[in-house]
């Protein structure tokens, strides 16, 4: 197991390196002078000097990259151009708020999606399968930024039972679990965020379960006289590795892909930070946020990989 862990880690490290290269090169994507790309047109001389010093644009690219990487390794992502605060603080604060959403969205999405898919897969072709599969397609195709707005219209504008935006009564930007009244702010973003993963996981589970159902060993189990619940238990266990892979991806999306939903609800998470950084042309924050989110994504995938091989002995061998 340790051997396997090391081998997967060996695979993840170059990926993480590549990810940092991509994040670094984001500054150079736009044509023209990177300084102009980075800085807002009305930047003060002070800001220009600061950015120049931080980036060392006079040096050759590989040197610039290594210097940047060296600083990033010790947690120094530079300063936000907009707020002048260290990027690390901005990003970690935002990540905390995003993980609050994920903390609630993940169990809801995973359990709902898995149950929907499992039920549909156990009754392929029946009306319940059609209904569930149809809803799953709707979930997958849902523009969640629109769905968030619709929820706001119904529950905040029309019924006025839930707050439309923000995360606390007085515009706080750090979620407080101890304040019960803040829970109301969670409801709409969490529901919105869960819809797409529910659809994706339901579809994957449905496909995996239906596929396993067709395998010969299921006939053997039934021929042995196992009860239908026991058969289904076997089937679900065999379908799990495939579902787990998709769940890992979805976890990563929930951590990083919530940018649209956070923007709709002005939830001060990593996605919202990112969209602010884009509007403000705040490249250090942009780079830092994306790098952190991508690394979390890589780590999640590593974890899922390990869990999969723990469940599925066939993967463990290779």
């Amino acid at each position: 197991m340790i051997n396997l862990f090391l081998r997967r880690l060996m695979y993840a490290v170059p990926i993480a390196f590549g990810v940092s290269v991509v994040c670094f090169s984001l500054v150079y994507l736009a044509p023209g002078d990177p300084l102009q790309t980075i800085l807002p047109s009305d930047a003060s001389a002070d800001t220009i000097a600061m950015v120049k010093a931080a980036y060392g644009f006079d040096k050759p690219l590989p040197i610039q990259f290594l210097k940047w990487l060296g600083r990033v390794m010790v947690g120094d992502f530079g300063q936000s151009i907009a707020t002048r605060r260290p990027v690390v603080l901005e990003v970690t604060g935002a990540l905390y708020n995003t993980s609050v959403l994920a903390l609630f969205a993940v169990p809801i999405a995973f359990s709902t999606g898995f149950s929907m898919g499992a039920i549909a897969g156990c009754f392929p072709g029946k009306w319940i399968d059609r209904v569930l599969t149809g809803s799953a397609v709707l979930g997958v195709s849902l523009p969640n930024y629109w769905f968030g707005i619709v929820l706001v219209i119904f529950f905040a504008v029309e019924a006025m039972v839930l707050p439309a935006t923000g995360m606390g009564a007085n515009g706080s930007d750090q979620f407080n679990f101890l304040r019960w009244s803040d829970a109301r702010y969670l409801v709409l973003p969490v529901i919105t965020l869960s819809m797409v993963p529910i659809g994706i996981i339901a579809r994957t589970t449905r496909a995996a379960v239906a596929e396993v159902m067709n395998q010969d060993f299921v006939i053997t189990l039934r021929a042995k006289g196992l009860s239908e619940t026991a058969v289904i238990r076997h089937v679900l266990k065999n379908a799990l590795p495939q579902v787990l892979a998709v769940m890992g991806l979805q976890f990563g999306y929930l951590m990083g892909g919530s940018i649209l939903v956070e923007t709709v609800f002005t939830w001060p998470g990593s996605g919202f930070l990112l969209s602010k950084a884009i509007i403000n042309r705040d490249v250090p924050v942009l780079q830092g946020t994306i790098l952190m989110l991508a690394l979390i994504f890589v780590a999640t995938n590593l974890l899922v990989d390990l869990m999969q091989s723990w469940i599925d002995p066939r993967i463990r061998r290779t």
Partner: protein, 298 residues
């Protein structure tokens, strides 16, 4: 081989020849008997035609503003779907908006299919080193959540429709590459490819005659499923202000600007999202239908 020979005729051959359709013919044949797919195929067709013929179909000028006619309800003074926050006819803007939204969703998929598909076939058919070089590079881009990568790239490039399409192409290419690589590697190990090599055929000939035909199917299926994602992501980028610039009509951008007015006329504000949803669902179900029609094991 000039000497003629006669052999006893094979016994099991007096049956009538089945109607020859070819592979794609049989796919179409199966599609015709799938009402759901046919229906959503028609919806997709209608959406595309509506976007193309927007100049003919649109009842009003999509850019004509009206100070007194802002955010009017459906049916007001001939505005079937009402007016937006600047008093422009919403139906006309939705028709025109489809042009940009569909284009931004479909073009990146097409680009990614060509680039990613080519890289994937090369990676799957080439040696181990080529494969490692291509696939590990793709893995790096795969390590970003797709929305994030699209936002990051188009944001860093300064937004705009063209940059958005470039960003989305970069998001889809690695996924496309993986699909093509897997399909190629699977086909490559089948006996008929070895048989073709044994015939003395060169690599390019084998690729052209034996690999491509078998890889195109999975690639096409995957590309069709990406279109829906493409439309969703493209509208998402526009929603964040990374797509076309106002006053150009685009579903995502319209949703974003109308969003400010949900307290005045919520029903109108939600309409652009309905357009996105209908397009995305229809493309998705059409793609599902194509998949099951093509996925028949031979």
């Amino acid at each position: 081989m000039s000497n003629a020979m006669t052999l006893p005729q094979h016994p099991a051959k007096e049956q009538a020849a089945p109607k020859q359709r070819g592979y794609w013919g049989s796919v179409l044949y199966r599609l015709r008997y799938d009402p759901v797919t046919v229906f959503f195929g028609c919806v997709v067709l209608a959406i595309i035609l509506a976007a193309i013929f927007a100049p003919v179909l649109a009842p009003f000028d999509p850019y004509k503003e009206s100070i007194i006619g802002r955010l009017k309800p459906m049916g007001w003074k001939g505005h079937l779907l009402g007016t937006d926050e600047l008093g422009r006819d919403l139906l006309s803007r939705l028709l025109y908006g489809g042009q940009v939204s569909l284009l931004m969703g479909v073009v990146p998929v097409a680009i990614a299919t060509v680039i990613g598909g080519t890289l994937g076939v090369i990676g799957g058919f080439g040696g181990r080193r080529v494969n490692t070089a291509i696939m590990r590079t793709m893995d790096v881009f795969y390590a970003f959540p797709s929305v994030l990568l699209a936002v990051a790239i188009s944001g860093a490039m300064g937004g705009g429709a063209a940059n958005g399409m470039i960003a989305l192409s970069m998001v889809f290419t690695p996924a496309m590459c993986r699909v093509a690589e897997t399909a190629t590697a699977q086909v490559k190990n089948l006996d008929f490819v070895e048989a073709a090599r044994a015939t003395g055929a060169g690599t390019l000939t084998i690729l052209r005659y034996h690999i491509l035909g078998n890889v195109l199917g999975p690639v096409f299926i995957y590309a069709s499923s990406l279109v829906s994602v493409g439309i969703l992501l493209a509208s998402g980028l526009s929603f964040l202000g990374l797509g076309v610039k106002p006053p150009t009509a685009d579903w995502g951008l319209m949703l974003s600007t109308l969003r400010q007015s949900i307290y005045i006329n919520p029903a109108i504000c939600a309409l652009p999202g309905v357009a996105i949803l209908i397009a995305s669902v229809s493309f998705n179900l059409l793609s599902d239908g194509i998949r099951s029609a093509m996925d028949v094991r031979l």
